[in-house]
């Protein structure tokens, strides 16, 4: 229950972070930065899981996260280069990074099955929060068509990961 609650808090704080950006519509350079940061966060979480997780399915899931998010972020970097856009740091990115650092520290204290459960629960919550931010804020705010299209692909990837994480979470019970 503690795990679930902390995952829910993480999701809520993430959303409120994104809500900040909703008031002032983020610009394309900010959106690119947020999307890239969201990917980096999940890669860092997965790398922690690769060194700490004990369950085979959890490790495989973490490997999938590293592979997919590195691929998405490579596409994002290629796109910003092509569009000659410099991603711009912003409050949403900062909130995301701060929350993620706290979560990494929290998970670092756990081991074995407790870590596995907490990591996967957070993956479900995190992907849900990012999906919602993409759908409600980032995609509608994006001006550039190619950026919008990359975000839409990103949304499908994240939704896929959310379902995958839910499946792994169900197996752990």
């Amino acid at each position: 229950m503690i795990i679930r609650l902390s995952a829910a808090i993480a999701a809520v704080s993430l959303l409120s972070g994104v809500a900040l950006a909703q008031d002032a519509k983020p610009t394309d350079p900010q959106i690119a930065h947020i999307a890239y940061t969201a990917g980096l966060i999940d890669i860092a979480a997965a790398k922690q899981a690769l060194s700490k997780a004990s369950n085979k399915d959890v490790k495989t899931f973490a490997q999938d996260m590293v592979r997919d998010h590195e691929a998405v972020n490579k596409q994002a970097l290629d796109l910003v280069k092509k569009l000659n856009v410099t991603p711009e740091d912003n409050d949403t990115s900062k909130t995301l990074s701060k929350n993620a650092a706290d979560k990494l520290a929290e998970l670092a204290k756990l081991n074995g099955a407790a870590f596995d459960k907490a990591y996967v629960a957070n993956e479900v919550a995190y992907h849900k929060a990012v999906d919602s931010a993409l759908e409600k804020t980032l995609i509608p705010s994006a001006n550039n068509a190619e950026l919008k299209s990359l975000l839409q692909t990103g949304l499908k990837i994240f939704q896929g990961h959310e379902q995958h994480a839910e499946h792994v979470a169900a197996e752990l019970k």
Partner: protein, 105 residues
Amino acid sequence: MKPGRILPIIAVLMLGVSVSAQAATIQLSMENLEIMPAEASAKVGDTIEWINKDVFAHTATARNGDFDVMLPPKKTGTLVVTTAGTFEYYCRFHPNMKATLTVAP
């Protein structure tokens, strides 16, 4: 009719026979996390070829466990169908990618 003309005719006839007896290859694509077409049909003995156009790895995994084809980024994977039936399949990495394959006897 000169003998030289008969040979090509025989060749054409043989070709016709061999084509109709040969199994088909059905090409499907995976692009932007969508399997297209989402509903495909084949016959036993046909080859299904999934062309993964994404930079992400996918799989074509039958819900009933009958097949599990790995599709690395920008690569193609094949499966020769040996049993008739309707197979629902999905991508293990992105379970939101779903499709149906109907195999006739």
